[in-house]
Each structure stands twice: as C-alpha cells, then as structure tokens.
Amino acid sequence: MERLTNRAKVMEQKPMSFMESLYLPAIFKGMAITFMHLFKKKATINYPEQQRPFSPVFRGLHVLNRDEEGRENCTACGLCAVACPAEAITMEAAERKSNEEHLYREEKYAAKYEINMLRCIFCGLCEEACPKDAIYLSETFAPSSFTRKSFIYSKDELLIPHPVNEPEKFAAAKGAREARQKN
C-alpha cells in the first residue's frame, strides 16, 4: 500500500528493554513535553471579547434583502421553499396595491415569510435558488432561546434594515456581503 506521508512508523512488538521497563525515562520525557506546552501560544481565544473572522463562504442567519430604495425584493415565487431540503421555509403571497409601490419592488410580494431555524440546515440552497437576490445567508448565527416558537423567524426578524430610514444599520447588515461579492 502506498503511504500518504513518510511519517508512518512500523510497529515493533518486542519485549521491553530494561530501560523501557523502568518507565521513568519515558515519564520524564513526557513531563518535559507537557512542561514545554506551558509556554506555548494558546490555541483558544477569549470568545465573546475576541472573535475569529468568518470564512468568506460562511452561511449563517438568513436576511431578506431590499433594494437601494428600501423596497423588498421578494416576490413570493416560492423557489426557495421548493429548493429547501429541510422544508424550513413557508410563505404566503399577496398582490401589491397601487399605494404600495414604495414598499415592494414588483407586483407580487410575500405577505408572510417564515423560516424555522430549528429545521434549517444552513445549506444556502435558498440563496442559490432565488432569482431576485431577495434572500441571502449572513455571517451571524441564530442566538439561543428557551422556546421552540421563538426559532420560527418571521419577516420582522429576517428583513434587512431600511437603507434610507436606517442607513447605519443597513450598512452594518450589508457590509460584509458586499466585500464578499467583490472577491
């Protein structure tokens, strides 16, 4: 069999020599190794204060997108719900009224849009299925909670902040994604 590395060692099963059967040299060697580790760089970080950068392909909580005027992109076509392997997405469509042009980009919109975060497997297929760039996965993960009900995220939780009314919050929610798409 061809070996992947040259580090493999052939096991030798012969009786222990006198020095080996004393155990002590091996024990001191081991203790020297653990002692050296006292001064090594720590592999862990202080989590809430320090955070590791996410990978550019990280898939976290979903965000329902708006365009630059603050109109919702979603047309409730249902492609995301069909694509979802965990069947976590449900929605109800509604027709845009004549005075609602500033709210929804196209004639049809999602009156109700829910994602069950307990079912969701964060695969990102909804993002890939969406033809309107209306849903994408952000770089935050779902916070813990005590009730199952609170894990069913509705439109209030999913919608991105309004770009005109709340530009700072919008930029914060959007920021990482823009940079990601440029790469």
Binding site: G30, M31, H37, K41, K42, A43
Partner: protein, 353 residues
C-alpha cells in the same frame, strides 16, 4: 502555685487552638487554590486558557465552585446506609486534616516573651502517627463507597482500599531506610538534623522515588487514580454523593495533596530549612519572628513545588491498568524498598567501622 500552673496551661491550650485554627484554615485555602491551579495548569498544558471569568484571572473560580456545591440539592439515596453515608466524607476530610498536626511549619515565634512552637504536636513517634492517620484515610473511601449501595461505588471503594493498603507497605519500607539514618521518628528532629547536615534526598534518592510514587497512589492521583476512573466506574466511590458531601470528597483529595507535599518536603527536602542559609545566624540578626516567617516561606515554596509536580504528572501520564498497578506495587516497589534498606544498612555499617 496551682493558679500559676492553671494560667500557664490555659495559655498553652489557647496557643495550640490558635495554631490548629491557623493551620487548618491555611490548608483549606491552599487546597482551594490548588483546584484553581490544577485547572489553570491543565489548560496551559493543553494550550488552552483555563478559568478566567470569575474575578481577575479567574481567581474567584474556587469560591464560585464552592458556592455552587453548597447550593446544590443534598441527596441521600433511599437504599443507602444513612449514618455511614454521612460519615464517609467527614472521615475523608478529617483524616486528610489530621496529619497536619505533626508537621513542623517553622521553629518558633516569640509573642510577649513566650516561645510558641510552630508545630501543633511534637510527638516523638511523628512518622508513625502520619502512617496511622494515612491508613485511616482508606476508611473514608471504603465507607463512602459501601454506604452508597451502588455497584460502581463499591467496586471503586474496593479498588481504592486494596491500592492504598498495597502501597502503604512500600511507603513504610522506603521510610525505614530513612529512619535508620536519622534514628528518630520525630519530624522536628529530622528537620533539625537536615538543617545541620544536608537534605535527606542526597542520601536517599531511591527512597524518595519510592516514597513519592507511593504518595501518588495514596492520594489517588493519576497515574494511580483507579478509584475514580471515570471511564470504567462512572465517577468512582463518590458516585452517589451530591452537594457539599461530594465537595468534601473532592476537597479532601487536595488537602491530602497539600499535607503529603508538606510531609515529603519535611522528610526529604529539609522541611523549613532555607537552603544555603544559617538559620541561627539569621535569628540573631533578624529576630525569631522574621526568621520563622522566612523558614515557613521556604517550606511553603517546597510544598508548592510538590503540588505543581502532582498536577504536572496528572496531566502527563495516563492511568495504569489495575494489574499493572498491583504489579508495580508488589513486584517492583517493595523489592526495591527492601534492597534500598539493605544497601543503607550496609553502607551505614561500613562507615561506622
């Protein structure tokens, strides 16, 4: 005359009480922070950070642990023997504490012209007393494990008992060669001899090695922590315990470590002797109280070193298998200790003639 004697005795009783209180609270605080050190050093050895949330550097962690244990529900299993179930942890803690009585923590201090010895009891059979109390320690484990009425606890208790009894033999034998040299069982005398001459570790390296291995086994520390082998026995002899009774068991292990470190330092590393310093000259220049403080600090430094070794070994060496443990105790350590005894005797005779 009678009144004078009475007042003198009262002072002595008071002084001893204060000393006992000081030693026990000191031992408890050290044991408390040994748990912290254990977790911290374990973390560092595994490239982690360890507890750092409670207080600065996590220094309040042992307090948080203690408070948590106090607030836990106290459960006494229905099928257990109530009296023995309560007696077990108490006995474990008491025997862990008792040994501290004969350890000299320093020479003496002078308060209001009274010379106060820093040893609770200078018994002339000090080491014998230590052995007596240490062998009592097995009852804490045995009673606790048996009273729980749980097969894992019982198995752990039987393991613990046979382990401690086996290793006590080698421990005693390794000390006999030391006692042949010192000619005294009093710990104070042994320390004084080391202060005038050199430390016993120089004459008895093999004896010390056997002794420290046996101490590890007596304290149920890795690599000999078979009574609490989690993967084999769930939790060991304190499986059924909860709240502070469990705390006492866990805590007595650390008190045991502290006291055994003190015994090792006293027997082999000169006790409260400050290396390369003449204590009588120091007393003349600094006074008795300061000298006692420095002597105590020297002893404490040695104790801290041994505590570190305890922790260091625990996070380095894997556990022995039970038959390997018995092999090591009976087939290796006891013959070695006997050989050491004979060699010491022969050398001593050769030097004398």
């Amino acid at each position: 005359m009678m009144t004078l004697l009475f007042t003198m005795d009262l002072m002595l009783v008071l002084e001893k009480f204060l000393l006992i209180g000081a030693v026990i609270s000191f031992a408890l605080v050290v044991a408390m922070y040994t748990t912290y050190a254990e977790r911290k050093i374990a973390a560092w050895m595994q490239d982690r950070r360890g507890p750092n949330r409670a207080g600065p550097f996590g220094l309040l962690q042992p307090v948080a642990d203690g408070v948590k244990l106090f607030f836990k529900e106290e459960i006494i299993p229905l099928a257990s023997n109530r009296f023995l179930f309560v007696l077990g942890p108490a006995l474990a803690m008491i025997t862990a504490m008792l040994t501290s009585a004969v350890i000299p923590w320093g020479e003496y201090i002078e308060i209001l012209g009274r010379k106060i010895s820093l040893q609770i009891a200078d018994v002339n059979i000090g080491i014998l007393y230590v052995f007596g109390v240490v062998s009592m320690g097995v009852y804490g484990i045995m009673i606790g494990g048996w009273a729980s009425n749980n097969k894992f606890s019982l198995l752990a208790a039987v393991r613990g008992a046979s382990q401690i009894i086996s290793y006590e033999l080698a421990m005693g034998l390794s000390l006999i060669s030391l006692l042949m040299m010192t000619g005294s069982l009093s710990l104070k005398t042994i320390v004084e001899q080391q202060m005038n001459g050199s430390w016993n570790i120089i004459y008895q390296p093999l004896g010390f090695l056997i002794f420290i291995i046996c101490v590890f086994a007596e304290c149920n520390r890795t690599p000999f922590d078979l009574p609490e082998a989690e993967n084999e026995l769930n939790f060991g002899y304190h499986q059924e315990y909860s709240s502070m009774k469990l705390g006492l068991y866990l805590f007595s292990e650390y008190v045991n470590m502290f006291i055994s470190s003190a015994v090792m330092a006293t027997l082999f590393f000169g006790g409260y002797d400050i290396p390369f310093v003449d204590e009588t000259a120091l007393t003349a220049s600094l006074g008795a109280n300061l000298t006692a403080l420095f002597c105590f600090l020297a002893l404490f430094a040695k104790v801290l070193f041994f505590l570190f070794v305890f922790i260091w070994v625990r996070w380095t060496i894997p556990r022995f298998r039970y038959d390997q443990l018995m092999d090591l105790g009976w087939k290796k350590l006891i013959p070695l200790a006997l050989a050491n005894m004979i060699i010491t005797a022969v050398v001593m005779l050769l030097i004398k003639n």
